[in-house]
């Protein structure tokens, strides 16, 4: 029952829009009317050597998209749809796909390989298509190279698609044998060798057992290393990619091979083509990543140890590794700093050098200093840039004590270079390096800052001057100012920036108005620097910060008024609105936190609110987020006075809560509901019906991103705290929702850390809801309404306590809820609590906890329970 789809597929790629749209529409129709027939036709099209390659490729692509999608819920839907097709159809499609391997057209084979992997991804976990891997492996002995190549490619994709647990070890062994054989130097076809090498990259995750076997591991490593010496550049690159993957997956197995790998990589970095050299550098960056993680674990308070021991490969390789990386720094491309997509060996080398510095700390300094001294004054800009970049790269890692003397000497030189060096690239790197100096060697956390009252003024003068330089240099200067300001965060009333606040604001606002401010992210950096200066300011400069408000408001007003923009202008406008709202948010928070400024600030509140409401007319997600955050800040500052804005604001609040697509907006809006609850208290009551309805809807939706759900539960608590016993009418809906979520989360088995973290967030949200509701009802005559739910709440805590996977936050919240139950319901629940297995043990256990907050909660819970039991 295959349909004739060739012409439609070709039309769908027509240059004529009408034809194309029509064809796409037809495809959609067929898909909806008869999915099995549609998929069959597509697979037949792909397998048919008599069809044009364009229609075959598109057929494969559509087939693939019918099996997989990025969004999780859609992905699951598609998988279910495939699994529910009848067996005959599926078998026929799979046969067609495997047949395509013998096609002489490589694009068709490659497409089929990807589709097969998608089918495997769905079926193998359900124990379906068990013969797939066997039949693929039987192809390996085919004489025709192109079948062999397609088969290896497919094996690679399959490994990428399915979990290692799904494939048993015996099959893994056979896959690896086939792949490694294909990689072997004896393989004459470089297509096959390349496909095998790429397949190995994906199959490495399956090789856990094989890597613990010395002989097998030696063999795999030998073949990979040999492949790095292939005459085909693509094979060499793929082989290095394998080495990179091995470095992170099998770090602890690498020791015997490090000497060889060093030789191979260092030769590649110095002599090979760039794509290969980049991978060779990446190998060392990846080793740094591993060792930084391990050393972090060693230092961590909790574990003090790491599952994997540190082999100190970087430390051992240091004397040879550092010179190799320094050499790369001299291979810059012109204008790489203006090109967003640029990535070259100098950039990779410097990034790696930075990681090495973080891995070994002080030891790197003497190895890099001679290079800096030799090159920093070279007439060729490359020397000066490389030296500066090397310096900037090693500022994170070594101790401030080691670096400060060098920085003290270098600072003046750097300031001079930033103002006078003729080369933009050098100035860019110099400004970046200054930013790094301020980030790591200045601020309350650093014993003796390299910045003093005296040099601070000079630094500021140079930085402000550089903000008039070309965009990429100006952008780095803004970044440097950002960190300079951050360093004075806790300085109290003596920040040396204070006298320059006017100048700083003036210059930053000037930068935001530059014609070329959209280049190199300059405008964003200028606003973020402005925000940081405001955030780290103190009471003394509050009046100057206050003067910013009308300026920013005027700018925002202009963006709101702007009419009839082209789509390009519209984008820029959106970016600007987002930045301005962000800036307002920071200013509002600052002014709200300074008692003396709060009232002066409130005179602007009406206008600000008016503007922010207009901003919601924009359809841009980022702008909405920023405006919402600003409103949250305003609600804090305004308190109950915010009530007067609610009638106009409510519709946008509801809109935000309904935005499932852009779930970040939804999440932020849920947070703002909490802000409003605390600001308005019972004045929020008139809006609660609408808000609760929407929140309950959100909870039952499976389209809303799961990360929004825990905050929604917390938000229930916020609402209940604000409106007290008026929450009664929502109990009927909210409590079952809480109960079923509690049940789910209490029994959740968390396989991975991410799931565990989510489960704990969910538990915490639920507990916060219970606490809010219980405390909201406290001393109300309606507390009786809560008594029926008490048993379930206790059971929830009991189950979690039995499961032993609560994190500290959950533990603290659980203690709170135990106390709240007793506190609000008193003798109604006294006996119930006495029977609860967890209440006693959990509280006793927490009484001797290190964390004082947990102890405090435990003591409070105990006190409340004692009262309830005795009273």
């Amino acid at each position: 029952m295959a349909l004739e789809v060739t012409q439609i597929l070709l039309n769908a790629q027509s240059i004529d829009a009408a034809t194309r749209n029509h064809a796409e529409e037809s495809l959609k129709q067929i898909q909806e009317q008869n999915l099995p027939a549609f998929l069959l036709s597509l697979s037949a099209e792909l397998a048919n050597n008599n069809k044009p390659i364009e229609s075959r490729k598109l057929a494969g692509l559509i087939l693939k998209n019918a099996l997989d999608a990025k969004e999780l819920h859609r992905k699951n839907d598609l998988a279910q749809r495939w699994l529910s097709l009848d067996l005959a159809t599926k078998t026929q499609i799979k046969t067609s796909l495997l047949q395509t391997f013998s096609s002489p057209v490589s694009d068709a084979r490659s497409t089929a390989a990807q589709v097969i992997a998608k089918v495997a991804g769905i079926e193998l976990p359900h124990n379906q298509w068990p013969e797939l891997i066997g039949s693929l492996l039987s192809n390996i002995h085919q004489v025709e190279t192109h079948v062999k190549q397609a088969t290896l490619e497919t094996l690679g994709y399959v490994c990428e698609e399915v979990d290692p647990q799904v494939v048993d070890q015996e099959q893994v062994n056979r896959i690896l044998t086939a792949v490694v054989q294909g990689m072997n130097a004896t393989e004459t076809s470089s297509d096959v060798r390349l496909a095998a090498t790429r397949a190995l990259y994906n199959a490495l995750g399956f090789a856990q057992a094989n890597f613990t076997n010395d002989m097998e591991r030696d063999y795999i490593m030998r073949v990979v290393c040999e492949a790095t010496q292939s005459s085909d550049v693509k094979i060499r690159q793929a082989a290095f990619e394998c080495l990179v993957a091995i470095s992170s997956t099998y770090y602890e197995k690498l020791a015997p091979y490090m000497q060889d790998i060093f030789n191979i990589t260092s030769k590649a970095v110095r002599e090979d083509e760039e794509p290969v050299a980049l991978q060779a550098i990446e190998f060392w960056s990846s080793i740094c990543d591993e060792e930084i993680d391990i050393l972090d674990d060693y230092r961590s308070e909790y574990t003090g140890d790491s599952d994997v021991p540190c082999f100190y490969f970087i430390k051992q390789a240091l004397p040879a590794l550092v010179p190799m990386l320094l050499e790369t720094l001299l291979k810059q491309e012109e204008d790489q700093d203006q090109d967003e997509g640029a990535w070259n060996i100098a950039m990779a080398g410097g990034t790696c050098l930075g990681l090495v510095a973080r891995t070994v700390g002080d030891e790197i300094v003497p190895l890099v200093m001679p290079f800096i001294e030799e090159n920093i004054s070279k007439p060729d800009w490359r020397g000066r840039e490389a030296a500066t970049y090397a310096f900037g790269s090693i500022l994170d890692g070594p101790s401030p004590g080691k670096l400060a003397p060098i920085v003290n000497v270098a600072l003046n030189f750097m300031l001079a270079a930033l103002s006078r060096d003729p080369n933009n690239h050098v100035k860019d790197t110099t400004a970046w390096t200054l930013g790094r100096i301020f980030e790591f060697l200045h601020g309350a956390a650093v014993e003796t800052s390299v910045i003093t009252q005296e040099n601070c003024q000079q630094i500021l003068t140079v930085l402000l001057q550089s903000m008039k330089d070309v965009p990429n240099v100006a952008e780095k200067a803004c970044g440097a100012l950002y960190f300079l300001a951050q360093g004075y965060e806790d300085e109290g009333s003596v920040s040396p920036l204070t006298p320059f606040f006017q100048d700083i604001f003036q210059m930053l606002l000037f930068v935001t108005h530059r014609e070329d401010a959209t280049e190199s992210n300059l405008r964003t950096s200028a606003y973020e620097a402005l925000n940081e200066v405001v955030r780290c300011s103190n009471d003394e400069t509050a009046p100057i910060v206050m003067q910013l408000i009308p300026v920013i408001m005027l700018e925002l007003h202009q963006t709101v008024e702007a009419q009839k923009l082209t789509s390009d202008e519209r984008d820029k406008q959106n970016d600007l609105q987002g930045l301005l709202c962000g800036c307002l948010q920071v200013i509002i928070q600052k002014m709200g936190s300074i008692e003396g400024s709060k009232y002066a600030f409130m005179q602007y509140a009406d206008q600000i609110m008016d503007l922010l409401l207009k901003v919601f007319a924009s359809r841009n997600a980022t702008v909405h987020e920023e405006a919402m955050l600003a409103i949250g800040a305003l609600a804090y500052t305004a308190g109950p006075n915010f009530a007067k804005y609610m009638p106009q604001f409510y519709q946008y609040l509801e809109m935000g809560l309904q935005n499932f697509e852009e779930y970040q907006i939804c999440a932020i809006t849920v947070g703002v509901v909490g802000d409003l609850c605390r600001a308005l208290e019972d004045k929020i009551l008139p809006y609660c019906d609408g808000i609760m309805t929407q929140l309950l809807k959100n909870l039952s939706s499976n389209q809303l991103h799961r990360s929004v759900k825990p905050p929604i539960f917390s938000c229930f608590g916020d609402i209940a705290l604000a409106i007290g016993e008026n929450f009664e009418k929502y109990l009927l809906y909210a409590m079952p929702m809480l109960q079923s979520a509690a049940e789910l989360s209490a029994h959740a088995v968390s396989q991975d850390d991410e799931m565990l973290e989510y489960t704990n967030q969910l538990r915490n949200g639920i507990l916060e809801a219970y606490s809010g509701i219980l405390q909201g009802f406290k001393s109300s005559p309606k507390t009786q309404a809560l008594v029926p739910y008490a048993a379930h709440v206790l059971q929830f805590i009991d189950t979690m306590y039995g499961g032993r996977e609560m994190d500290d936050a959950v533990m603290k919240s659980a203690l709170g809820v135990l106390g709240d139950l007793a506190d609000t319901l008193g003798s109604h629940v006294g006996p119930l609590i006495s029977q609860s297995s967890s209440s006693k043990d959990l509280i006793e256990e927490c009484m001797v906890y290190d964390d004082p907050l947990i102890r405090e909660s435990a003591e409070w819970a105990k006190l409340a329970i004692n009262r309830a039991v005795s009273g």
Partner: protein
């Protein structure tokens, strides 16, 4: 569905993209929005907690009836009155030595703004541990000027300056003894005492802090403060208008003053009156420091202990043994251990207050070693009391626990447990001794015979002697006519240990050992030779 020119490979893990972002990255700058959001989330979380804890505190029942709850800055375990915690604000300064000159000039200027700025800077320099500039700041010159600034008040910024100056002095007195001496020599104490009359609570608080540090230094320093009327002023800080933070500081300072013997009984009485009230505080920090003060007082001798008992706080102290915080329990048990060493009357009072059940819990639950040790010491003191008191110990089912501790406890606790058993057996009635033996006291005492502490050994021998005496009475009931307890001693290897004690270089122990051997074993075995120390005189 846009056509794609060539089927793209499925997304591979491309470290390149991640690395590219790391090139000259200024994460914070580019992720401004996410960072702001995170800050807001943090803010929200703390506001939510504030709201909740406010509700939780809004309480129908009166909070002052319960001893539990509330936080306080941790008092370090070894917190005898020693240098106090330095102020929390630690801030590195950018000053080099030239800078320092500038600061000192500011300090000496007549302009209050400059004075304030300089004082603040000095305070910050001093609050950083190990700041090399600190030594240069602590000169007689600078300190004298800081002391002068304590008296400035005409200016509206005067109080602020007073706080900063007192704070700087606080930091200095937190240092070495020499540093504190510089401060006292500069005449700071009378001025600090004077500041306790300030209408501003922050000024009073900082002055108390400084005085607390000074008091921690030495008895001479404490007397200096008391001589200048510091104690009276300090006691007047405890009134119903005082803020909690002030009360905390005042209690801490008072506890430091109590570390030494107070010059007069009337002062002790006045202090006890305040302490009695403070013992009902719900604030853990206040409660803890109050208990420390009591425990210090109990250290000074029987007069003080008698006054403590007369002030009728022992009952409350016994209740506080079950407080949930070790910061409270530790000083309480120290105080009670001292009280229990006093006369039988006072001990009886403790027993009547229910102390034994509390001690049992302290010894069986997971408490810190020092608490258990003191609890055990208290038990051993009670065991040294009347037979009625020993009976109370037996009735509280404490003996098996003591035996167990004497075998397996940690060294100090083990010793105290042995003391307790030795005391109980030495002073117990025959019936009590039978009961004690039934619980295994003989083995416990015999095992202790290898210790090197002569006093404890002697006590053990005394205990064994009492046991053996009772054993003689049992002889009649025994078929073989043997002293059953002597047999028990032999069986558990106690006799061998006893014989070994003849080599112990202490006359009293030697004599006691011989006496026991001769009285209960000598006629039994002919192989036993009365050993004579060749060097000791015949008597």
């Amino acid at each position: 569905m846009p056509p794609s020119p060539s089927p793209p490979r499925p997304a591979r893990r491309t470290p390149e993209n991640a690395r590219k972002k790391a090139y000259k990255e200024q994460t914070d700058v580019t992720n401004g929005r996410r960072r702001r959001e995170a800050q807001l989330l943090q803010l929200r979380k703390s506001r939510r907690e504030d709201t909740l804890s406010k509700r939780r505190r809004d309480d129908a029942s009166s909070p002052s009836t319960e001893p539990e709850s509330d936080i306080g800055p941790a008092r370090p375990e070894s917190d005898r009155p020693s240098s106090s915690d330095p102020p929390p604000l630690a801030c590195a300064t950018d000053a080099d030595s030239n800078k320092l000159l500038g600061i000192i000039n500011g300090l000496k200027s007549e302009n209050i703004s400059l004075q304030l700025e300089a004082t603040t800077k000095i305070r910050k320099i001093l609050s950083v541990d190990g700041n090399s500039l600190a030594e240069e700041v602590i000169t007689a010159d600078v300190v004298a000027r800081l002391v002068e600034l304590l008296s400035s008040k005409k200016n509206p910024r005067g109080p602020q300056l007073q706080v900063e100056a007192a704070w700087a002095l606080t930091n200095i007195t937190a240092g070495t003894s020499e540093h504190t001496e510089v401060v006292t020599n500069a005449g700071a104490v009378p001025k600090l005492v004077k500041l306790l009359e300030s209408p501003r609570s922050d000024v009073r608080e900082q002055a108390m802090w400084a005085l607390g540090n000074v008091a921690a230094e030495s008895q001479r320093c404490r007397e200096l403060i008391i001589d200048h009327g510091g104690l009276v002023q300090l006691l007047s800080q405890f009134n119903e208008h005082a803020k909690v933070s002030n009360l905390r500081m005042a209690t801490w300072t008072l506890s430091n003053l109590c570390f030494g013997k107070l010059p007069s009984k009337s002062q002790t009485k006045a202090v006890l009156q305040i302490l009695q009230q403070l013992l009902n505080s719900i604030d853990e920090k206040i409660l803890s420091d109050t208990c420390w003060a009591v425990s210090y007082l109990c250290n000074h001798g029987t007069d003080e202990i008698q006054m403590v008992i007369e002030s009728q706080i022992c009952c409350r102290l016994v209740k506080l043994l079950m407080h949930s915080s070790p910061k409270v329990v530790t000083p309480v048990i120290l105080a009670l251990a001292n009280v229990s060493a006093a006369d039988d009357c006072q001990v009886q009072f403790l027993i009547d207050s229910g102390i034994l059940q509390c001690l049992l819990k302290l010894l069986t639950r997971n408490y810190q070693k020092c608490i258990k040790n003191q609890a055990c010491r208290t038990v051993s003191n009670i065991c040294a009391g009347t037979t009625a008191q020993i009976q109370a110990i037996i009735d509280a089912k404490m003996v098996p626990l003591l035996i167990q501790l004497s075998q397996h406890g940690e060294t100090d606790i083990k010793k105290e447990a042995i003391w307790a058993i030795a005391n109980a057996t030495s002073g117990g009635s025959p019936d009590q001794i039978r009961s004690l033996v039934g619980d295994g006291c003989i083995i416990a005492l015999c095992n202790a015979l290898v210790l090197s502490d002569a006093d404890l050994l002697y006590a053990c021998l005394n205990g064994l002697e009492s046991i053996l005496k009772v054993g003689e009475m049992e002889k009649m009931k025994d078929e073989a006519g043997a002293n059953p307890y002597a047999v028990l001693m032999e069986e558990c290897g106690g006799l061998d240990k006893l014989e070994n004690l003849q080599g112990f270089n202490n006359d009293a122990i030697f004599e006691k050992t011989i006496k026991l051997l001769e009285s209960y074993w000598v006629e039994e075995g002919s192989e036993f030779e009365v050993p004579k120390e060749p060097s000791t005189d015949d008597t």
